[in-house]
Structures are given as C-alpha cells and as structure tokens.
Point group: C2
Chain length 199, copies 2
DNA sequence: TGTACATCAGTGAACGCGCGTTCACTGATGTAC
DNA sequence: TGTACATCAGTGAACGCGCGTTCACTGATGTAC
C-alpha cells in the first residue's frame, strides 16, 4: 500500500480526526477541507467516503450510540443483580461512558451537528438506549405502577445522568476530587428516589 | 427619528434577532452579515455596537444570566417557606425559566458560542446562580453536613434541573402531556432525595 | 508467470458563495451661542 | 428662534479568506485469462 497515493483507510481516519477535534473543543474546524488538510490529503478525497460533512458526523454519532448500547446492555441484563443494583450500575455506567467517550457523547446528543430525523439508524439506537433505561428503572417500581409513571421515572433518571454528564463534559462543575466516587455516590442517592417513588 | 438612515436601536435589535435565530435552531445563521441583512441595515453597521460576534453572543448570555438570577433570587429568599419548600420551588422555577427562555438558556450554557473565561461578568452571574442553588439545597441538610456534602448535593440538584431543561429544550424527550405538572412532580421526587441524604 | 483491463481512491484546478473586517464617506441629531 | 458645528450611527465598496462541491484526470490495486 503506497504511502503517497492511496491513503489506506481514509474513511476511518476521517472519523478519528473528527473525534479528535471534537474532543479538543474545535468542532468549528470539522469540515472536509480542514480534515483533508490535517490528513494531508486532497480537498476532494473525503467525497469518496461521505456525501457531505453531516453524513460524516452522523456516522460518528451512530458508532457512538452503537458502542453506548453495547456497554449498557450487558449491565441492564445481569441476572444476579437486584433491580436497584442494576439501576445503580446502569447509571454509573452511563455517566462513565459519557466521560470516557466525551467527544462521541457530544455528537450523539447535540442536535446542532446533524438532523437526527434524517438518520433513522441513529434514532433507532438512541431509542434502544432509552428503552434499556426505562426497563431497568421500571423494575424498581411496584407492579401496580402505570406506564405513565414508568416513563416519568425513566425520564427523571435520564435527566439526571444526562445533566451530570453534560456538566462534567462542558467543564461547568466546580472541581471535584474523586470523580468516580462522586459519580457512584450521587447515583446511589438517585436510586433511593426510585424507592421513594413507591411509597 | 428617520426610518431609513438611523435605525434607532440597532443594538437592541441585534440582540433580539440573535435570540430569535437561536430559538429557531438557526444559530449557524448568527453572524453580522446575516443579522444586518435581516435587519435591513448595512454590513458594517453592527460594528458600531459590538466589536465582534462573540461579544454580541456574550452580551446576550449576560442578559440571560441577569434575568435568571433575578428570577431565582426572590424564590430562594422567601422566608415563609420551609427549606424543602424553597428547594422545590427553586427547582421548578429553574426549569421553567429554561423552557420559557430557551434561547437564552442555550447561549448561557453552551460553551461553543463564546469563551466564558473572557467575560468575567458572565462568570460572576453564573457563580451567583450556583450559590443560590447551593445555599438553598444546603438548608435542607443536617447542620453537621460537611461543605463537601453540601457541594455534592447542590451539584446533583443542578445536574438534575440542567439535564431536564436540556432534554426538553433539545426536544429529546418522548412527548409529555402536562409539562408543567411533570416538572413539578419530578422536582418533588427530587427533594425527597435531599431528605434521604440526611439519613 | 505475465499481461490486459476494470475498478477504485486520490488529485488538482476551478466555480461560486458567505463570512469578517476596514475605511473613507455622509446623513441625521443634538447643542452652544 | 436660527445658525454653525461636533458627534454619532449608518453606508457601500473593497480586501482576503475558507468553505463546499464538481469534474476530468491519473496512479495504484486486484483479477481474469
């Protein structure tokens, strides 16, 4: 494989470079010209792999969601856990994924980058993630709980983990010493909420 | 005041138009040229009022934070309320402000628009808002609670209201029938959490 | 094993566009006398 | 009350820039015979 002409795996390189720029708070630089420049490739080369920038961003988000579901699903299905334990671990896993893959997380949930409705595969994966959350939180409720209540609890839980992730990622929190410990303990507080909801 | 030459209050008009575009999910259109076009004014007119677009966005955010603090502060200082009541009302007020002023809220908390560290006045107002939240949530805790615990509870509360606001604003929630009622009831659930934290 | 050919991935020039910003200018407004 | 002048807010032409996108092209790779 020649080093000068055929890049080898430009498609993959475009995706990686995009993540790198997002991570470095430089989304405004994500564009075919700039990417081509940074990858030392001609301006028009990216068009071999994506019809336009939006499609590239959507593909990155899709991969992010796929990885997200892959990480959450096993946690949501551990049979040995009690419902509250599963709920807790799912929350912790959610926030940790967001922090470890912050560039992905940003692209996944910031509607400014691409129109989710134009990419049904992305929507499908996002819906699966929410379903996992709903199923796991619902398992902590009384069997008599209405579907409306279940959706509400899932939404409240989602708001919490999403908000926490966003504040961390955007650097808006006052410094916290032991981040992992903080995430776990705040999620623990949160699970109690589900128990209160039954009362 | 001539209608054709002197605009009258271009500064104000620029701010309003910016909010209008953000509200309509068209932040990408916010720029001096486009604003000038929409306000039927020459390209260079905006420079009479702001040195650059970032300064305009920061000013809009500053006004947003000022209004935010103005709305939260009275709620946080109602003496007739019990601590838990104040905490609850503050949360409800927070989310309602975010939804009623969603364009402002976006500019206030999305770090992509301008560098907050370059605008100390904005930072100061943001810090005041967090202080209000911290003071109000702390009042619900045992007197023996450490400052660390107080910051933690405030952060958890912030994560929740911020996450809920963001999900609503970005249209990522499944449809909810009675939005106001939902906000109140989920904040109520949340306040119980503060009580649990004392146990 | 060698050659001919199809295919694929990247090139580089070119088009048109919108942006930010500067600058000498001018019309409108307010103020001093 | 009227005039002269300073000041302010907007004009419009111009500069340079980076972007997305198209298009005819060519070098590299793989495959069939």
């Amino acid at each position: 494989m020649s080093k000068n002409y055929h890049h080898g795996d430009l498609r993959h390189a475009l995706i990686e470079k995009t993540l790198e720029l997002v991570q470095a708070d430089q989304v405004h630089l994500v564009g075919f010209r700039e990417l081509a420049r940074q990858l030392a490739v001609s301006r028009s080369a990216p068009y071999r792999h994506f019809p336009n920038v939006e499609a590239l961003l959507a593909e990155v988000a899709r991969q992010g969601f796929a990885a997200f579901v892959d990480v959450l699903e096993p946690v949501a299905t551990v049979k040995e856990y009690a419902p509250e334990e599963r709920f807790l671990e799912l929350g912790v896993t959610y926030v940790q994924f967001a922090l470890e893959h912050s560039a992905h997380y940003r692209l996944m949930f910031d509607c400014a980058y691409f129109k989710q409705e134009d990419f049904p595969e992305v929507q499908g994966l996002a819906a699966r993630a929410f379903e996992l959350l709903k199923r796991t939180s619902s398992a902590c409720m009384d069997k008599s709980a209405s579907d409306r209540d279940k959706v509400e609890l899932a939404t409240v839980a989602w708001a919490f983990v999403h908000g926490l992730s966003k504040l961390f990622i955007d650097g808006q929190l006052p410094k916290i010493k032991n981040q992992k410990r903080f995430i776990r303990s705040s999620c623990q507080r949160f699970v109690k909420l589900a128990q209160c909801a039954n009362e």
